[in-house]
């Protein structure tokens, strides 16, 4: 502070370019600001550089296939014809299937932990849920191969066929490896993400909303339905989209269970293939230029989808944390 009272010396020592960095007279502040701004911009540069690099690597594939890359179903590394539609289909359907299975359970866990569970139980269960998120992907995959897939083939799939077999969704041979098993393993993996974020969101709901509902004579269920959920909805949607983001990018476990077949089938028992899986499977051994370019274009597609979803999730989470109470309507 004493240096502020002695401005002439500072002015003399301040290099002429410093004012360009900011309005502050203190050179330390200006340097700090510009350095941290540089770090922040670095992230932006990194993302753009990655996208540019992938687009650059995919150039040959753009030229060869154009938009046909996204609409073609044929993936033939020997014949050098590449189409990404089965992978896009597999990624989107397996992720949506995972959401369908995981969201009700995850929201149930979150509501129980934040609204209903006795206090002594909240910590240990919350901890266990978060522990699930720390299990490595390959462990889920191995468990899937040796436990889940045989269980699906011998118990779950025959049961589904005998009850709902009239639907094309549940037809075809039950092999245990396919879209359904892939969706189930993804659901298990995104469950902790969705439930722990949802729990945070529910805990951020102001207590006076609950108290107000209770004062009006609401039951526990009504407090949650009328008081808590409408307020938390954007945040919960954000949690679900974060889970979806994880499902879209998941590679190892789903590769081990989905059957890795680039085909579009109406049956959930049939094998499928995801964008992340084909990258993990084929990149290391690909040596033809066009094959590498096609894989680069797939990674670009995956990158775009994931980025888009994360942006949407961010916007939704911001909306709830800004605290505009939607109120109970």
């Amino acid at each position: 502070m004493s240096s502020v009272s002695n401005p002439p010396s500072i002015v003399r020592r301040t290099p002429r370019w410093l004012p360009l960095l900011g309005r502050s007279a203190n050179p330390g502040d200006a340097v700090f600001r510009s350095v941290s701004r540089l770090f922040a911009l670095l992230i932006l540069v990194l993302v753009l550089a990655m996208a540019a690099q992938m687009a650059f690597a995919a150039e040959e594939s753009f030229k060869e296939f154009g938009w046909g890359f996204i609409t073609s179903q044929k993936w033939d590394p020997v014949g050098q014809r590449y189409g990404a539609l089965p992978f896009i289909f597999g990624t989107v359907v397996s992720s949506l299937l995972a959401l369908l299975l995981a969201v009700p359970v995850a929201l149930g866990i979150a509501i129980y932990l934040s609204e209903l569970a006795p206090l002594w139980l909240r910590k240990p269960i919350g901890f266990l849920v978060e522990l699930l998120a720390a299990v490595p992907s390959v462990v889920y995959g191995l468990w899937g191969v040796f436990v889940l897939a045989p269980l699906m083939a011998t118990t779950v799939e025959p049961a589904l066929r005998s009850t709902l077999g009239f639907l094309p969704l549940f037809s075809g041979p039950n092999q245990g490896f396919g879209m359904l098993s892939g969706g189930v393993i993804l659901a298990i993996m995104i469950l902790p993400t969705i439930s722990s974020v949802s729990r945070e969101v529910l805990q951020a709901v102001p207590a006076n909303l609950r108290e107000g509902a209770i004062a009006l004579g609401a039951t526990r269920w009504e407090v949650v339905r009328v008081g808590v959920l409408p307020y938390a909805r954007p945040g919960l949607v954000g949690a679900v989209i974060l889970g979806l983001g994880r499902a879209l990018g998941e590679t190892m476990a789903i590769t081990m269970l989905i059957g890795n077949r680039p085909e579009i089938s109406a049956s959930l028992f049939a094998p499928s293939y995801t964008m992340a899986s084909v990258l993990a499977n084929e990149f290391a051994e690909a040596s033809q230029d066009l094959h590498l370019a096609a894989l680069a274009e797939i990674s670009l597609l995956l990158f775009a989808v994931t980025l888009l979803l994360n942006i949407v999730a961010r916007l939704l989470v911001w909306q709830v944390s800004r605290g505009e109470a939607k109120g109970a309507r």
Binding site: P77, V78, L142, V145, P150, Q175, R261, N281, E282, A286
Partner: protein
């Protein structure tokens, strides 16, 4: 102040460079580091080799990364490694990208075993026709008369066949599809041969461990994997009919037999699937190390050539225990002659 900072930076740079002082011949303080990258299939053998070689020759450190044949070839072409390794020979396209001549050095032999899961059938025989028909999706049940024909006296169950293939690009798939393309014109026309394929039928599993897992947990499954894996996973193995009409289960001896009947051409690369030699197992292949004919660094060139000579003689002893087949004698002699022709800056690499 600025000048002083510059001085310290300069001193730091000089000391860092000084420590790592790389001689122009490629050695560092008398120790030669050789870097290689490539195929995963021979990795257990190569890591044994580099370990043993370093024990016997402490001035040569060899670092091999099993990043896949494709990656190994890319790194060799970019000259970021001293040698590469691949199961399938480089394609004409890849050779064209090479800045200088690259030689294939046969290093070992491997086999692809066909495993199945039928607890009631302890031994199963298949011919090339039945195997290709199963993978083409033409035979879909184990009690198909075409399978029964080659398995006289064996009760085959009425069970659907689950076909399992490797989903990740691999030399194993390249060898297996090379065999199918040789024995079945329809396979050649509809599918072809390569590290990644458009499979007509089946489920894709990642890696040898993935295939062995799927075959093990799925009744009625059939899959192909490296020979070493069927031993560790204790899977049932198919006896395949070879060109001489014998049914052969894969073994180290049957693989060497497959190679010994096939003469190596000038390129030192050849396919030994569907070998006509007696006692040969039909799905076998060489695995190659890749080196530039001329390595610009003299110390590295000499160390690499000496290591290659060692691997051809002493190194072969380690193969069998790890389920790789030793190279036949006549192949060793032929490859040795090629290694001795390697150069550095136009002069012979070996003293």
């Amino acid at each position: 102040m600025c000048a002083r900072a510059l001085f310290w930076i300069a001193a730091l740079v000089v000391s860092l460079v000084g420590c790592r002082g790389v001689d122009p011949d490629g050695s560092v303080g008398g120790v030669v580091n050789l870097n290689g990258a490539g195929a995963t299939f021979p990795f257990p053998l190569y890591s044994k080799w580099t370990f043993e070689y370093y024990r016997q020759h402490p001035t040569v450190k060899i670092n091999y990364q099993s990043i896949g044949s494709g990656g190994g070839i890319r790194q060799l072409l970019a000259e970021t490694v001293d040698f590469g390794a691949t199961d399938a020979p480089m394609t004409a396209d890849e050779r064209r990208k090479a800045p200088r001549t690259i030689h294939h050095i046969p290093a070992t032999l491997g086999a692809v075993a066909v495993a199945y899961n039928l607890p009631s059938v302890p031994t199963l025989r298949l011919s090339s026709e039945t195997l290709s028909a199963i993978y083409l999706g033409e035979i879909t049940s184990w009690n198909d008369p075409r399978i029964a024909e080659v398995n006289p006296g064996i009760a085959l169950p009425e069970q659907g066949i689950t076909v399992v293939y490797r989903s990740d690009g691999s030399g194993t798939t390249a060898v297996f599809s090379d065999y199918l393309a040789k024995v079945s014109p329809r396979w050649k026309e509809q599918v072809g041969a390569g590290k990644s394929l458009r499979w007509p039928k089946g489920l894709g599993a990642k890696g040898n461990e993935g295939v062995s897992g799927q075959v093990k947990t799925t009744a009625g499954a059939i899959g192909y994997l490296e020979l070493a894996y069927v031993h560790t996973a204790k899977l049932q193995v198919v006896a395949l009919k070879n060109r001489s009409g014998e049914f052969i289960t894969p073994s180290v001896k049957a693989v060497t037999a497959a190679a010994s009947g096939v003469k190596l051409p000038e390129s030192l690369t050849t396919s030994i699937t569907d070998s006509a030699s007696p006692g040969a197992y039909p799905i076998a292949s060489y695995s190659y190390l890749l080196v530039y004919e001329d390595h610009p660094k003299s110390a590295k060139a000499a160390a690499l050539a000496s290591f290659l000579l060692w691997s051809l003689r002493d190194g072969q002893r380690f193969a069998e225990k790890l389920h790789y087949a030793p190279l036949p004698e006549e192949v060793v002699t032929q490859v040795e002659a090629r290694v001795k022709q390697l150069t550095t800056g136009g002069k012979p690499a070996l003293p």
